[in-house]
């Protein structure tokens, strides 16, 4: 097999595929990229067995064939070449020769027939959605996913797809983020799937700043997303997801509803956060009549940070502790000028949402006083 391609086109494709290649894979061949040329189109595929990314580009002159080459090395070579370079790719017996100008690299290969592919998605529900809207959905919730929790289902994001909306939910067991977008998916009936954490990160990265529509196909074991020339496929996390509806407090039943200025609230927290570098990162908030006080303490040296802001609240005085990071994470995904905070007592969950907007909801559990 043989083809010639300009370095920028190649680099763009390789960068996209790179995310699927694991640094310490289960099989040696997974260190490689699959390069296939057929019907005038060149395909690059990387996989870690859980997710697969394939990109393609149509080329005029191309000699059919397929091979796998070491991903890392191939990408590094491409990056090291000058910007306007033309790259020749030539399979010669069991070696690949990559050459450009006076540079020449001979790479080892592995048999492309040994390269594992993620199974075809099978019976799937498919629809399209705005790339920016979908990415926004992921961005507003992904921070709340767990990382390497033993409870496999927490290390992913629930996508709950209804005929007229898509809802994303993520939780690590301490806090939960929910966001939804109104969009016609046309699915016959609502469908819920759990997408692994890594896949969510890759989808966001691949969408990048692209606009326009992306295609989504949801099967029983996998989800596939088409973004321009990229085809992303990820296995789903099997099993059940917690009943998130039970975790979100009913705003109408919370006796403490406080509207605060988002920027002021966030700045106060960021200031006192300076002295909450412990593992627990505790901040105590004291809601008083018209005023909200913050306090953190560095436990070894007993250094204390305190701050306060004016709020619109005239209920009984009330004190509650939180992991400051959880509150800040939620605030940084809200764009509105004001946020509503709903509370019941010091051991029950706290609901934070943009003022008068229920499309995004953040639930944070307090710390025990």
């Amino acid at each position: 097999m043989k083809f010639t391609i300009d370095r920028d086109t190649l680099q763009k494709r390789l960068t996209n595929v790179q995310g699927a290649v694991d640094r310490h894979p289960q099989l040696p061949i997974l260190m490689n990229l699959l390069v296939q040329a057929k019907d005038g189109t060149l395909f690059f595929t990387g996989t870690d067995l859980e997710l697969e990314i394939e990109t393609s580009v149509a080329l005029d002159e191309i000699e059919t064939g397929s091979v796998t080459v070491p991903a890392r090395k191939f990408i590094d070579i491409c990056n090291a070449l000058p910007e306007q370079a033309i790259v020749d790719f030539n399979l010669d017996d069991d070696k690949v020769v990559v050459s450009s100008g006076r540079s020449r690299f001979t790479l080892s290969t592995m048999d492309s027939s040994q390269f594992p592919t993620v199974d075809e998605i099978g019976d799937a529900t498919s629809f399209t959605v705005s790339a920016t809207a979908f990415k926004g959905l992921l961005t507003r919730t992904r921070f709340a996913m767990a990382n390497q929790d033993v409870r496999y289902y927490l290390n992913g994001m629930l996508l709950d797809i209804a005929p007229q909306r898509i809802r994303a939910v993520a939780t690590d067991g301490h806090r939960l983020a929910l966001s939804q977008i109104q969009t016609v998916t046309g699915v016959d009936e609502a469908k819920s799937v759990i997408v692994p954490r890594k896949g969510i990160g890759e989808i966001s990265r691949l969408i990048g700043s692209r606009e326009g529509e992306i295609g989504i196909r949801v099967g029983s074991n996998a989800i596939a997303i088409d973004i321009e020339d990229i085809r992303f496929t990820s296995k789903l996390i099997e099993g059940r997801y917690p009943d998130y509806g039970r975790v979100i407090p009913d705003a109408s039943k919370c006796d403490k509803k406080i509207k605060v200025d988002r920027q002021t609230f966030r700045q106060c927290l960021e200031r006192v956060a300076v002295l909450s570098r412990d593992k627990a990162r505790a901040v105590w908030m004291n809601f008083g009549s018209g005023i909200l006080k913050f306090k953190t303490e560095e436990t070894v040296e007993r250094e204390v940070a305190e701050d306060e802001m004016e709020i619109d609240y005239d209920g009984p005085e009330f004190k509650i502790g939180f992991n400051i990071g959880y509150i800040l994470d939620s605030l940084s995904e809200i764009q509105d000028d004001h946020v509503d905070i709903f509370l019941t007592d010091a051991t029950s969950s706290c609901l934070i949402q943009p003022h008068d907007d229920t499309d995004s909801q953040y639930v944070v559990m307090p710390m025990r006083i």
Binding site: T171, D278, E317, I369
Partner: protein, 279 residues
């Protein structure tokens, strides 16, 4: 002094000293009350050689195999707390429901303080499951209503499953009519699990929650904790929540620490009621 005044006084003092010291506070994260729907099925019931016959009988019963083929239409399961009666009745209801039968549950331990009118008209179901009938023994209005329900369900050829901790002959019913009608059904005793069975069941329930309980932890628990299933299940719930809160895997030292702290009433957990209820 009103709360408002206190607050404005505090404000006058400025930030310093506004909140009492936090020293010595154990800042433990409370986990979200995540609820994973339980899936109680025949497939995940811990079958032992001693329970294989009854499980088979219940399956045929749930599927509606005809009494002519030797599958009784009226069954009674006697088994102690924790032997798995509720698991099996949910599996029966689920299986029957999945086949399109109308199947209804009558949980008498929960309903014993409510009016017996709760069960009026229930005989219209294809399959009725009466749970914990021993709970209403001696309450004559309930006993009477149940005789009528059983009579009516027989007239309508509905299938009937009744469960209790003891077999009918050993339940102190006031109404002989009720006992004899229950005795006429095919009575099975569901044996409690032995330690090995309990270990398998506990591990399976842990896996359902997505957590892993090692052999070492099980050995540790069985040596130091009550070994009946309701207590173990309640403990599992706590271990899960503590592990989620502390974001730690369950290890023997961590489990020891949790067991040692159990004397204090745990915060925001409803499992105490479950333990009292089923012990």
């Amino acid at each position: 002094m009103s709360a408002k005044n206190e607050a404005s006084d505090a404000r006058a003092h400025g930030p310093a000293g506004a909140i009492e010291s936090m020293a010595g506070i154990d800042a433990a994260q409370i986990p979200l009350p995540l609820y994973l729907p339980q899936h109680l099925r025949f497939e995940n019931f811990e079958v032992t050689p001693r329970s294989v016959e009854i499980v088979q009988a219940l399956k045929s019963f749930a599927e509606g195999s005809s009494p002519a083929s030797g599958h009784p239409a009226r069954l009674f399961i006697a088994g102690e707390g924790g032997s798995g009666k509720s698991h099996l009745s949910v599996a029966v209801l689920r299986t029957a429901g999945g086949l399109g039968f109308d199947a209804a549950l009558i949980p008498l331990r929960l309903w014993m303080d409510r009016p017996p009118g709760m069960i009026q008209g229930m005989e219209r179901a294809d399959l009725i499951c009466i749970e914990d009938i021993d709970a209403i023994a001696g309450i004559s209005r309930w006993e009477e209503s149940l005789v009528f329900l059983i009579e009516a369900s027989m007239r309508r050829k509905a299938r009937l499953l009744v469960s209790a901790r003891k077999q009918p002959a050993h339940i102190p019913f006031g109404l002989a009519d009720l006992r004899s009608r229950l005795n006429a059904s095919t009575v099975y005793r569901l044996p409690a699990l032995d330690d090995e069975g309990r270990a398998r069941a506990l591990r399976r329930h842990a896996m359902d929650r997505g957590i892993d309980i090692s052999d070492e932890i099980i050995a540790y628990l069985f040596a130091r904790y009550r070994r009946d299933m309701p207590s173990l299940m309640a403990l599992l719930e706590r271990l899960d929540r503590r592990s989620l809160g502390a974001r730690r895997r369950l290890t023997v030292p961590f489990v020891r620490q949790i067991l040692e702290s159990l004397d204090e009433p745990p915060l925001g957990e409803a499992m105490d009621e479950v333990r009292i209820d089923s012990s």
